[in-house]
């Protein structure tokens, strides 16, 4: 039975959105001046932010291709944001046209945009839901239509968990999602951290402050804190590493120094 939906909180595009800021870092124009203003201020502290985003996209791409090579053809991307380019469905369906992708975001603008981008794509869809309510994600009709949870799914939590405060218990939410997935499923995860950033913690803290101000706090976690998200998963080689070092396809030495910020890892559910 469909529950009556309560009115969502008002759409206020005078507030910066992390999805649109991310798009701006990646050279997109799916953003408004408030987003660009916030991004520019963050970049004053950390000029390499776009490189971090690029590395994040690159490692996601490698991980998606790895999942496909392991025979996982279903993808659940939570916190997908504005799909500027090189998205999961593009990467996955380029390699396997039968790959199925479900995007999830709680930003109504991002959801509306995703819906427009995915129009006509029978094997990709978007769900308006919040990671903090994993039950609602798993029960969403769109997800149930597209994904077979009896078979392995690659769960992507890419650049998402560092926006979830401990008070919202992201570990429990990840565990809920993990428990709902079939054996052989994968967790593809990237997470911001003070570790690996080629800047002083003070400068990096400036970026954290900006995100605090736009009411989207950025939660920096240590490597061991990030590793805890993989409870119940067996780490895929090379484990939880700086983004650039996760199964690189080109010499690591040529990577931008910012590409080593934060962590990337892939786990496989036994």
């Amino acid at each position: 039975m469909e529950r009556p939906a309560w009115a969502p909180p008002g759409i206020d595009i005078s507030m910066p959105s992390v999805s649109r800021i991310y798009d701006y870092y990646l050279g997109g124009s799916h953003n408004f001046e408030v987003d660009r203003e916030a991004a520019r201020r963050a970049m004053e502290f950390m000029p390499g932010l776009p490189k971090i985003m690029q590395a994040n996209r690159a490692v996601m791409r490698r991980a998606v291709r790895h999942a496909l090579s392991e025979g996982v053809t279903q993808f659940l991307d939570i916190g997908s944001g504005i799909p500027t380019f090189g998205n999961v469905h593009e990467v996955a369906q380029a390699a396997d046209p039968a790959a199925r992708v479900v995007y999830v975001d709680h930003d109504p603008v991002a959801v509306a945009h995703s819906r427009a981008v995915l129009e006509g794509n029978e094997l990709a869809t978007v769900v308006a839901a919040d990671f903090r309510k994993p039950g609602e994600i798993l029960e969403a009709a769109e997800l149930r239509q597209l994904l077979d949870l009896e078979r392995p799914v690659a769960l992507l939590l890419v650049a998402l968990l560092h926006f979830i405060e401990d008070a919202d218990d992201p570990y429990a939410a990840v565990a809920t999602l993990r428990d709902a997935l079939a054996p052989g499923s994968m967790l593809i995860l990237t997470h911001a951290s003070y570790e690996g950033v080629p800047l002083t913690e003070e400068l990096t803290g400036g970026v954290v402050d900006i995100y605090q101000k736009i009411k989207n706090p950025l939660i920096m976690r240590s490597r061991s804190e990030v590793a805890r998200f993989f409870e119940g998963f067996r780490m895929v080689e090379p484990g939880l590493v700086p983004m650039a070092e996760w199964r690189p396809e080109t010499p690591v030495a040529q990577e931008d120094p910012y590409a080593f910020s934060g962590f990337a890892g892939v786990g496989r559910k036994a």
């Binding site: 009556p4 939906a5 309560w6 009115a7 969502p8 008002g10 759409i11 595009i13 649109r20 870092y25 990646l26 050279g27 997109g28 124009s29 799916h30 953003n31 408004f32 776009p50 985003m53 690029q54 996209r57 690159a58 996601m60 791409r61 490698r62 291709r65 790895h66 496909l68 090579s69 504005i82 500027t84 380019f85 090189g86 380029a94 390699a95 109504p108 603008v109 991002a110 959801v111 509306a112 945009h113 819906r115 427009a116 090379p238 199964r247 690189p248 396809e249 080109t250 010499p251 690591v252 030495a253 040529q254 990577e255 931008d256 120094p257």
Partner: protein, 798 residues
């Protein structure tokens, strides 16, 4: 050499080729211009990898020990080095590829692509070919350059720096790698000019594509935002409609008021509850809705709420409807705040409890009023009395406890419905006696009433009240065509309220009422503590009876029955006594009526029968030669009606081993008045077994002589009133005649005659002469312990 090693060679070439500085605006300034690819390879020119850190310029993988490079995940992505192997070294294709490599190395850091650099290079290769061909095409055509610019934007090279770096690479290397190496000098000049025009074309194509892409994306995001807003608005609309439906359709009344109390919105239910048009409600003030029954608390909570000091309150509240009738509600008022937490509105939810309240009131009335007379009942009276007594201070109270004299006779002779009508009339009269404030009349039950007064001078008031009551009762009551005179006895308790509890007061009033009754009735008496001490209340005794039976507080005394002919002891009457722990030994007249009333008479009577029969059997065994000793046991009316009478009696006799002929059951004459066959049947059965039935107190009732012959009796016990005058000589001749007549009648019906209350020898002699058969009385012996009979019998035997 492995493919990877070759690839890294190529990259090292690119790096060494002197990529333009990526500094702002510095794209074209700091660049080296190697004359030929060959010199590039051998010169080892200083790399100018812009802002790139040392890591980016190190010789790649092959010389980085321990590093692992994973092969690309998909077979479809062709390895750039694989294609390179197919090209002829330093042939046009090879040089084109090397140009693409240099180009990709230059702009890769400025892109946002998630492709790897070799993949990105593959993307640039066809663009490099377009440029190379354009350099040679005749006539010259700059369009391919536009395409290249647009393709860069398409490949997400949207950063202007990517254009700067591209133009730098074209400027420096396009002619070098793509022009025929050995053309004439004029051709070189031509190439240079074409190269410049191609750069213009790339820039224009890039700018146009970027502009279009930017506009497209801005439009897309704006549309998405609009779309999301529309959806949100629709959801909000749906939510609002749902709320509206809830508001209108709710079974509870809902109202919203401003903080100044102005009612802004009410729902249908609330309007209906107020029984009117919503125009009569909306726009009014909450404070218009005060009601005399409002507690101060309600309005205090209201004030706190509108001041923002309280978020909600609940109460029971009455309202006046438009037509003046009263609406009772369960009211919940909540404070609504805005997003910043400032008080904004008050929300009232109300549930109509009028009906429920009326029902409660009615139930309460029924629970506290006597159904017959409509007077307050015992419950309400006790509540009131308790309240009066707990008032404290120097408050006083006066209480009249009224019991009608002879009401039982009215009930017995005229029937219960007549008795009820009499009680209703009495209640009305009493009600009219106690009309002053603080006065109250209640019916406690049966024919017992109380009147309470709490005025300032209770001593005088209660006196007046009692006098008024007796006066009101004095006028005869018309009932069933008769004039019935009702009298009453009143016990009065008056005093300071604070000293006593209700039960104590009532007990005292009850005792005092009995004193008034004992003094002849139709009067009132004031309670006095000493009299109370001595008095034994019916109430107390009634309550103590069951426990007394269990604890064995009853015992039996025996009064000898003497043969008037020879003075021998003929038998004995068993008389039950109660050895009360506080009041001492009580006679049957004190407690048998109470036991009758509560039904305890049945077990008590059975106990008396068992004891007496057992005793009689004992005497028989002891004095086998002294002739049969009979035992007389009284039967009360209730026992007579008890269905187990015959069976119980037989069982008692059998268990004790006493022959039925030794037992005489005494039944009062009044108990047999109007007795039908149903009642007489058990007596007849007992008589047929050989048990004697004696008619007790003969002569006190209606003494229906004609009735005597159909009763299964064998003995008449003449009431003492006939023989009292014979205690002294000369006896009243009328009494003598009467007794003579009765004896003669009895004997002719073959009934024996026993006389009671024989106190003198003269009396005994007289009665013997009149032909009476047996006698009992103090002249012979008072009732006593069983061994007294034993010694009397011994005396006889002597």
């Amino acid at each position: 050499m492995s493919a990877q090693a070759q690839a890294s060679d190529g990259e090292r070439d690119g790096a060494a080729a002197g990529v333009p500085d990526s500094g702002p605006g510095g794209g074209g300034r700091a660049r080296t211009r190697p004359r030929s690819p060959g010199t590039v390879r051998s010169s080892g020119a200083v790399p100018v990898q812009g802002s790139g850190p040392s890591r980016g310029t190190e010789p790649a993988l092959a010389s980085a020990p321990g590093a692992v490079v994973y092969p690309t995940g998909t077979a479809s992505a062709p390895s750039p080095s694989a294609g390179k192997q197919a090209a002829v070294p330093d042939g046009p294709e090879d040089r084109l590829r090397r140009f693409a490599t240099i180009w990709s190395r230059a702009i890769f850091p400025a892109t946002a692509t998630s492709l790897t650099r070799p993949e990105f290079e593959q993307l640039l290769l066809p663009l490099a070919r377009l440029l190379g061909e354009a350099l040679h095409r005749r006539p010259f055509d700059a369009n391919p350059a536009h395409e290249v610019g647009a393709a860069l934007v398409e490949a997400h090279c949207t950063d202007p720096d990517a254009l700067v770096r591209t133009l730098g690479v074209v400027e420096s290397y396009l002619v070098l790698y793509c022009a025929a190496a050995d053309g004439p000098p004029a051709a070189a000049e031509e190439n240079r000019a074409r190269c410049a025009r191609l750069q213009h074309g790339i820039a224009a194509g890039f700018a146009r594509a970027l502009r279009e892409r930017t506009l497209r994306e801005q439009e897309a995001i704006a549309r998405s935002a609009l779309c999301a807003r529309t959806e949100a608005r629709q959801a909000l609309h749906a939510t609002e409609e749902r709320f509206r439906a809830v508001f209108e359709g709710a079974a509870v009344g809902i109202g919203i008021a401003a903080l100044d109390g102005t009612i802004l919105e009410v729902n249908e239910t609330l309007t209906r509850m107020f029984g009117g048009l919503d125009t009569q409600i909306r726009g009014r003030k909450v404070s218009d809705w005060d009601h005399p029954e409002d507690t101060a608390q309600i309005w205090r909570m209201y004030e706190e709420l509108v001041r923002g000091e309280r978020d909600h309150y609940r109460c029971e509240k009455a309202f006046y409807r438009g037509d003046g009738t009263v609406l009772w509600t369960n009211l919940t008022v909540s404070l609504l705040r805005d997003a910043e937490g400032r008080p904004q509105y008050q929300l009232a939810l109300m549930e109509d409890t009028t009906e429920r309240r009326l029902l409660n009131l009615r139930l309460r009335y029924e629970a506290t009023h006597d159904a017959l007379t409509g007077l307050p009942n015992r419950t309400l009276f006790f509540e009131r009395l308790e309240k009066v007594l707990s008032a404290g201070g120097d408050a006083r109270f006066g209480l009249c406890y009224l019991d009608l004299d002879g009401f039982k006779a009215v009930n017995d002779s005229l029937g219960h419905s007549a008795g009820d009508r009499l009680l209703v009339e009495v209640a009305d009269r009493l009600q009219s006696c106690a009309t002053a404030p603080g006065e109250m009349v209640a019916r406690l039950g049966g024919d017992e009433f109380v009147a309470l007064t709490t005025g300032p001078d209770t001593r005088r008031e209660v006196d007046d009240l009692a006098a008024r009551i007796l006066n009101a009762l004095a006028t005869p009551i018309h009932l069933e065509g008769r004039e019935i005179t009702v009298r009453g006895s009143i016990g009065i308790v008056e005093g300071p309220a604070a000293e006593r509890g209700p039960a104590d007061v009532l007990r005292s009033a009850d005792i005092t009422m009995y004193r008034a009754k004992a003094a002849g009735g139709n009067r009132f008496e004031f309670a006095d503590a000493e009299a109370d001490e001595r008095a034994i209340t019916r109430h107390g005794l009634t309550h103590a009876l069951p426990a007394a039976l269990e604890r064995g507080e009853f015992f039996i005394e025996y009064q000898p029955l003497v043969h008037l002919g020879d003075g021998s002891v003929h038998g004995a009457e068993a008389l039950v006594r109660w050895s009360h722990p506080q009041h001492g030994v009580l006679g049957p007249d004190r407690f048998i009526p109470l036991a009758e009333h509560t039904g305890l008479i049945v077990p008590l009577g059975r106990w008396v029968l068992q004891e007496s029969v057992r005793q009689a059997r004992f005497w028989q065994e002891k004095h086998a030669d002294g002739g049969p000793l009979r035992i007389n046991v009284n039967l009360s009316p209730t026992q007579l009606h008890h269905p187990g009478l015959v069976a119980d009696t037989v069982e008692v006799l059998e268990r004790a081993g006493l022959s039925p002929g030794a037992l005489c059951l005494e039944v009062t004459e009044s108990a047999l008045i109007g007795a039908d066959e149903g009642l007489l049947k058990p007596l007849r059965q007992l008589a047929e077994m050989g048990i004697d039935i004696a008619l007790d107190d003969f002569g006190t009732g209606y003494s229906n002589l004609a009735n005597l012959r159909r009763l299964p009796v064998s003995v008449l016990k003449l009431d003492r009133s006939f023989t009292q005058s014979m205690q002294r000589l000369p006896a009243d001749p009328v009494d003598i005649k009467i007794v003579e007549g009765i004896v003669s009648l009895a004997h002719s019906l073959e009934l024996a005659v026993t006389v009671e209350g024989v106190e003198t020898g003269a009396q005994a002699e007289q009665l013997r002469e009149l032909g009476c058969d047996t006698a009992q009385g103090w002249y012979y012996a008072r009732p006593g312990a069983p061994d007294m009979i034993h010694s009397l019998v011994l005396m006889d035997a002597v």
